[in-house]
């Protein structure tokens, strides 16, 4: 029993307690429970958001897309559409919710278009807070937005004013991952320039995007290198495609142009694989940051606001007491004055 704390490699060795097995148990339980993840995609229409989501998760989340003409767009305001899909891979179940925001940036005057989105995010936080504070906490459904892909147009010279305003408004509520859409429009040089410009503008405006955590020192070199590459490639310049094209005998996802074929999963062509890797390896971290940072921020704000309303009542009561005391004193003075007068009259 003298080596009780030792993580023994040999289960049969004396002193092996066995709680090293704990991670496996957690792992098995969570695998059984399944994972939940909510991803929000925001960007102007026509940037390839739906195509990218379909490519990322190799599902057809939007089977029959009806693309409205400009006439219908005129009537529409920003809407929130959430679609859920259950994906299973090697026994691990993922319940993925994709929140789409059609109508964002379409209007001539886009000043109000992010109010709807911010309200949605706050509502999800509110609901979770309510559930958490409730009596029956067994089946809390976590619909909070864990990650927001913000699609930046490759046609500009950097961030547009709308991009900046929106990101500033939500960077304290959700993890922002900026993504450069339709990256096959850009040559390599243009892509690098655009990335640098976007990063400069993000720093200039003080926007807090999601930072990948550094690899722990005990991870292997390969993982560390991968993390380094991922961090250096933000914002990711991606291409999505729903079509399979035959290249060198293999069927791959890509886009066929008269001058060549763009392969979605080719790391030389775009950062799609990096985006997918990041999302998949950091899904847990994204959820943690949402819980620890954004949700806690929201919660403390909310509770403070509720508390401040209670405090004001208390202060009023004190004030009322003071007022009453002042009145009493005044009345007492008046009485003593009247008594003095009566005495004087009595003396005469």
């Amino acid at each position: 029993m003298s080596q009780s704390g030792e993580k023994g490699k040999f289960p049969e060795a004396a002193g092996y307690v066995g709680f090293a097995n704990l991670p496996n148990q957690v792992h098995r339980k969570s695998v059984k429970k399944g994972f939940e993840f909510t991803l929000m995609v925001v960007g102007e229409s026509g940037l390839g958001k739906s195509t990218l989501i379909n490519s990322l998760f190799l599902t057809d989340l939007y089977p029959e897309r009806y693309i409205p003409g400009a006439a219908e767009k005129i009537e529409r305001t920003v809407q929130i559409e959430a679609s859920t899909v259950e994906i299973e891979e090697r026994g691990v179940k993922l319940r993925l919710t994709v929140v789409d925001t059609p109508g964002y940036g379409d209007a001539i005057n886009s000043q109000d278009c992010f109010k709807t989105i911010i309200q949605y995010i706050d509502n999800q936080f509110e609901r979770y807070l309510h559930d958490e504070s409730g009596l029956n906490r067994r089946h809390i459904v976590d619909n909070r937005v864990h990650c927001c892909f913000y699609f930046i147009s490759p046609f500009g010279h950097g961030l547009k004013p709308l991009d900046v305003e929106f990101m500033k408004a939500i960077h304290s509520k959700v993890n922002i991952v900026p993504v450069i859409a339709k990256a096959d429009t850009l040559t390599l040089k243009e892509r690098d320039r655009l990335k640098r410009r976007i990063l400069d503008e993000i720093a200039e405006h003080g926007i807090r995007i999601y930072q990948l955590p550094d690899a722990d020192s005990d991870e292997d070199e390969e993982f560390k290198e991968q993390t380094r590459i991922l961090k250096a490639s933000i914002p990711f310049a991606v291409i999505g495609s729903n079509q399979l094209i035959e290249v060198k005998g293999k069927k791959i996802r890509g886009r066929l142009y008269p001058w060549g074929v763009v392969e979605v999963e080719n790391p030389d062509h775009n950062d799609f694989l990096k985006l997918r890797t990041m999302l998949v390896t950091h899904m847990q971290d994204l959820q943690e940051v949402t819980q620890d940072l954004h949700y806690e921020n929201f919660r403390s704000e909310r509770l403070k606001r509720a508390g401040r309303a209670g405090e004001e009542d208390v202060m009023d009561k004190d004030q009322i007491l003071l007022q009453k005391e002042a009145e009493l004193r005044r009345m007492q003075e008046m009485i003593s004055q009247m008594q003095a007068q009566m005495k004087m009259k009595g003396d005469e």
Binding site: S45, A70, G156, H157, P161, E190, H269
Partner: protein, 399 residues
């Protein structure tokens, strides 16, 4: 004295009130007068025709010059080619058709102006396209991507002029850029500064025209053509696009182009073009070449073909690369080189031929004869006449 001679001036095509170019055809109805001379059909044009004329001794057909998408300009038919107008053949050569050559020489000496306005969100490749079109650095930015592309807070109008020369012909090209259009969060009425600018140019020209002592050649700063850049979303037009084109298609010639079209595959491109055309039709947006201004069947056919192919999906570039041993303008990516002048890759060549090689003069004419005249009529009616010009002592208006 000619008997039974009838001079009828007939207007071909649609009748436009006010100011359509009158084409007068002097028809000799009585064919018995073999001695009489049937003058050839002459279209009086204020400037040089696009095609070089062929001055030849009486020959049945005059060969037509090089045509881009079919020349719509300056047809010179030597009589006897068998069309309905002139019946009898010319007995001797007079040399009336040398007037074309004379006009040409004069205009070459004088040179001519062309003002093109480019409108669209920032980053759609407007300046690059204009540089590619005119094969010179004519836009605001003398070098490619380098400088600070800060988005201005309001829409600004920046005009830059260059004189470019080709084949002895001098052209003063003015490129009017509109930075800040469509880039703000609130883009309401962002077309107002543009509309104001266009009307100001008409006003300037009107004031010059109305002077008692007129200049021989009024400097023409009117916007002849407005290239409107549509963002290649692949879905449909944006609200802002429609509003802009609705407001300005009655004031200036609008040519919509789909920018940065190397972002779409062939199928997506065709679908998008089709959808855009449908939407333009639904909203009654008459882009150039406008239906109503077609002169005759030949023009109409030619313009119909062009209208079917519009809006052109273009790619611009000022860099050259080696492809198959040739140097071509293009964009080099990891999966191939997009050739700008290759008709299989994009429609830049079509746009260039249409804009410069065949319809440049027509753009100026439509601006002068229709848009400007509309403005003028409105101005003269509105105030019951123009106010006398008091800014300059020596000039007085004639009203």
């Amino acid at each position: 004295m000619r008997s039974a001679s009838s001079l009828s001036s007939c207007r071909l095509g649609n009748e436009k009130e006010g100011s359509r170019l009158k084409r007068e055809r002097e028809v000799e109805s009585d064919r018995d007068m073999s001695e009489s001379i049937v003058p050839p059909e002459v279209r009086p044009k204020p400037a040089v025709p696009a095609k070089p004329p062929h001055v030849s001794a009486p020959s049945p057909t005059a060969p037509h010059g090089p045509s881009g998408l079919g020349g719509g300009v300056g047809v010179d038919r030597v009589p006897g080619s068998g069309h309905s107008g002139g019946g009898s053949t010319l007995l001797g050569y007079i040399g009336i058709d040398t007037i074309i050559e004379q006009m040409r020489k004069k205009t070459m000496k004088a040179g001519f102006d062309f003002n093109i306005m480019i409108v669209g969100h920032s980053g759609l490749g407007k300046s690059t396209l204009v540089n590619t079109l005119f094969k010179s650095q004519v836009s605001r930015w003398s070098s490619g991507w380098g400088g600070e592309h800060k988005i201005p807070k309001t829409v600004e109008i920046k005009a830059v002029s260059h004189v470019i020369e080709e084949g002895g012909v001098k052209m003063k090209l003015t490129v009017i850029d509109t930075p800040g259009f469509g880039d703000q969060i609130n883009n309401e009425n962002c077309w107002d500064p543009i509309s104001k600018y266009i009307n100001e140019q008409y006003e300037k020209f009107l004031k010059e025209e109305v002077n008692i002592a007129r200049k021989k050649r009024i400097p023409d700063t009117r916007v002849h053509c407005c290239l409107y850049f549509i963002s290649p979303t692949g879905h449909s037009l944006r609200k802002l696009d429609i509003e802009f084109m609705k407001h300005l298609s009655r004031v200036v010639n609008i040519i919509p182009v789909i920018a940065k079209s190397d972002t779409m595959t062939l199928d997506e491109k065709n679908e998008f073009k089709h959808r855009v055309r449908k939407e333009l039709e639904t909203y009654g947006i008459e882009y150039y070449p406008q239906n109503e201004f077609d002169d005759d069947m030949e023009d109409k056919n030619e313009n119909d073909k062009i209208r079917e192919a519009m809006p052109f999906a273009v790619v611009g570039s000022d860099k050259e690369y080696q492809v198959n041993g040739k140097r071509v303008l293009g964009r080099k990516t990891a999966w191939g080189v997009v050739e700008v002048e290759n008709p299989n890759h994009c429609e830049f060549a079509l746009l260039r031929d249409f804009l410069i090689r065949s319809h440049l003069q027509d753009l100026k004419e439509v601006t002068h004869n229709i848009h400007y005249e509309t403005y003028r009529a409105r101005r003269l009616n509105d105030n019951g006449g123009l106010h006398p010009i008091s800014s300059n002592n020596t000039q007085e208006s004639n009203l």
